[in-house]
């Protein structure tokens, strides 16, 4: 196992490093929250980091020949390959450092993927990567809730009912996407008992996200962070509201923020206040009705949506996270 960097937790926004690792040169849409996720991610990790990114907006729109925004070494990987890319990069470094073919020093390895690349296509590869305790690596899934780069198509991480170019509301079928969003982070945490760190985050809570990236990179072994990224193009809203929509996703209880470190679950930010009962969830419609992708939802649809979210907080074993109930007591 290679050595780990010392990346202390950051106390206060003003202490977030000023050094940029992701600068000008990218061509993402105005208000693209995924671009902010990239920027914060590499600020947290620092310059001694190798980043590998799978196909998607954060490759195609981000990384143009002769105008790369990456100050750190960066390499493209295939759409479903974030897990294997992280494993391969880390294994190459580990093997050569162990054999004395390369200077032994801590180098962060981060592979990112979109929801299409991570939650759908690359899930098996990510799962395999999380089993290799001997490699230090972080897989970060930036979730804009669609295959955005190919013109906004539904993925397994798109919300129920969302309008996309593969799920357009029509004259006969109003709701074309009838799948409920996958519960990815808990699935990976529960499925990989030796993985020491799984977290969810949102760039609207920049400090929290920064510290989670640092936690993931310093705890040891393979780790996973799932980030929700409002996407003005895909979600259909004015780009100036990205930050606000990220907050609303959390405040309505739709997106739950937490970290699972060495088996301990800790809710963070507003999710923690909601979980503790000190704060009420905002109605889901406050979030949904701000976005064009839900413009076709009827009153009935909104109530159905609210009902599902209520259930997740009221009926699930661990509210918002584990979607089943504990075994019934022995009634006999």
């Amino acid at each position: 196992m290679t050595t780990l960097q010392e990346l202390p937790q950051v106390r206060g926004v003003k202490n977030i490093p000023l050094q940029e690792g992701f600068t000008s040169g990218h061509r993402t849409c105005q208000g693209c929250e995924s671009a902010l996720t990239m920027r914060l991610m590499i600020k947290a990790a620092g310059p001694r980091t190798i980043v590998v990114g799978s196909t998607g907006c954060m490759y195609v729109a981000n990384t143009t020949y002769y105008s790369t925004p990456w100050v750190v070494p960066w390499m493209h990987t295939q759409l479903g390959s974030s897990g294997s890319a992280a494993t391969g990069t880390a294994a190459g470094l580990a093997s050569m450092m162990r054999k004395g073919k390369m200077k032994d020093e801590p180098i962060n390895v981060i592979a990112f993927c979109g929801d299409g690349g991570g939650v759908d296509m690359g899930l098996a590869g990510i799962s395999a990567a999380l089993q290799h305790d001997e490699y230090n690596l972080l897989i970060l899934c930036y979730d804009n809730e669609s295959y955005a780069n190919t013109d906004i198509q539904v993925s397994g991480s798109s919300p129920w009912g969302a309008n996309s170019t593969f799920s357009p509301p029509g004259k006969v079928h109003r709701i074309m996407n009838r799948r409920w969003k996958k519960n990815t982070a808990p699935m990976l945490a529960a499925g990989h008992p030796s993985c020491r760190y799984v977290a969810t985050a949102c760039a609207s809570y920049g400090l929290d996200f920064t510290n989670k990236v640092r936690r993931a990179l310093t705890i040891g072994g393979p780790t996973f962070i799932h980030v929700i990224d409002p996407c003005p193009k895909g979600w259909d809203y004015d780009p100036k509201y990205s930050h606000e929509l990220g907050m609303l996703a959390v405040e309505t209880g739709l997106w739950v923020q937490y970290e699972i470190a060495d088996g301990e679950l800790i809710l963070s930010g507003p999710s923690r206040a909601i979980g503790n009962g000190v704060r009420h969830r905002k109605p889901v419609r406050e979030y949904l009705q701000r976005q064009g992708r839900f413009a076709h939802l009827t009153e009935e649809d909104l109530e159905f949506f609210q009902g599902r979210v209520d259930d997740s907080w009221e009926k699930w074993w661990i509210p918002g996270i584990v979607p089943f109930s504990p075994p019934a007591g022995d009634g006999a």
Binding site: P47, R48, I50, V72, W74, T77, Q78, A124, G125
Partner: protein, 409 residues
């Protein structure tokens, strides 16, 4: 695998009775490969069984990763190679196809991964036996592609493969094609060199200014679109143009250090010195029955020879022209198919025929599809091929350009 090899950790030269797969596994240890990825599929996977045993016994220090699919298998070594690690992986049949996306980009990125293809039929319907269509599928992508005939050649060529692929003039991946069963599982006496000899021959892999590392913060494979893709493809083309010279150089060095090898790295000629009327051409382990048949036919006074093509990519056009240009007819034996291709012939046939086209005096080129799915190519099958080819010479015309041999009608 005899225990002596592990005990002595390749300190002394030895002779071992081993299979082709075992020979390649030993080459991995001798070459001090850094990252190896495995996924089970017959027949290639025997190589990984031997690699894992070598590692378990402490005879070989490498990161050996059992991937969850062939796609990941090839992606992992691709990325390990990008940070400067020496790599090896492989597959067979549909497994090779499952990895195809990764296989394609490995060549596009000019990463010198070495892979073994244990040639196998593409299911469905299920079949374990050898066919060359799996490996052939990469022929246009920038992989060097070599067909092995013996276990000794498997070991020797594997050692050369890293040296050729990792030469910065090439920086292209290298596939070692080994006929399923006939090579992967058949044992032969193999001369195993020492670690010291190999160290003298094979330098460390140096990715140079293309190494992905914080000290060298480059961006690899940014989006280029129509602005630059053509120039980048041209660079790959130029790299492939440079490979014959690299191959010749490495082959000569190998012969000097290890004292064995053929006159040419590209072709192996058998009984062609007297300009025979008919030359058979094929790849891989096919050479065994063909040689026996030729010996028999020679006894009967038939002037027949054989050319085994070793490198399918780069295709040694001039050498092939020289070797085949003086005969009356060439019989190309394909252990593959290419449905709907020119003359409905095999892949090798159409390549050879096209290589001979510029010659002023062209021999007849007749095609035989044989040994698919691991069916044995018998001596009498080879004799039948020669008979059909002789008819073309006698009548001055080819009745049927592509003939399936040994197939139930």
């Amino acid at each position: 695998m005899t225990t002596t090899i592990e005990d002595q950790m390749f300190m002394t030269e030895s002779e071992e009775l081993i299979s082709g797969s075992e020979a390649v596994a030993i080459a991995c240890a001798l070459a001090d490969v850094d990252v190896i990825t495995a996924y089970p599929i017959r027949p290639y996977d025997t190589v990984m069984q031997y690699v894992s045993k070598l590692k378990a016994d402490g005879a070989f220090d490498c990161d050996f990763i059992v991937a969850e699919s062939e796609h990941s298998q090839f992606e992992i070594v691709k990325h390990a190679s990008s940070v400067g690690a020496r790599t090896f992986c492989g597959s067979s049949g549909v497994g090779w196809f499952y990895a195809f996306e990764a296989i394609a980009v490995t060549a596009g990125l000019r990463l010198p991964v070495v892979a073994m293809v244990g040639n196998r039929a593409l299911d469905d319907p299920g079949a374990f036996g050898v066919e060359h269509n799996d490996a052939m599928a990469v022929r246009d992508l920038g992989w060097m592609l070599y067909w092995v005939a013996t276990a000794q050649e498997a070991l020797d060529m594997a050692l050369m493969a890293w040296k050729i692929a990792e030469d910065s003039r090439a920086f292209l991946p290298f596939a070692l094609s080994c006929d399923g069963s006939f090579l992967t599982h058949s044992q032969a006496i193999v001369n195993v060199p020492t670690q010291e000899q190999v160290r003298r021959f094979l330098p460390d892999y140096d990715r140079g200014r293309l190494q992905l590392h914080p000290d060298n913060p480059i961006t690899v494979a940014p989006q280029v679109n129509e602005d630059w893709l053509m120039e980048i493809r041209r660079q790959s083309d130029e790299a492939m143009h440079r490979t014959p010279a690299v191959i010749k150089e490495v082959y000569e060095e190998f012969k000097q250090v290890f004292g064995r090898g053929d006159p040419s790295p590209f072709l192996e000629e058998y009984m062609t010195d007297d300009d025979p009327d008919i030359i058979l051409m094929g790849m891989g382990t096919l050479s065994l029955p063909v040689r026996v048949a030729i010996r028999r036919m020679r006894e009967q006074g038939k002037k027949v020879g054989f050319v085994r093509l070793k490198f399918f990519r780069p295709f040694a056009t001039e050498e092939v022209q020289e070797a085949l240009g003086n005969c009356k007819a060439v019989a190309v034996v394909d252990r593959d198919y290419s449905f709907g291709s020119p003359s409905f012939g095999g892949v090798l046939f159409n390549e050879v025929r096209s290589a001979l086209y510029p010659l002023e005096k062209r021999p007849h080129v007749v095609n035989f599809i044989a040994g698919l799915g691991g069916r044995e190519v018998r001596v009498r099958d080879v004799e039948e091929m020669v008979e059909i080819t002789q008819k073309a010479i006698d009548t001055g015309k080819i009745d049927r350009e592509c003939n399936w041999i040994g197939v139930r009608e």
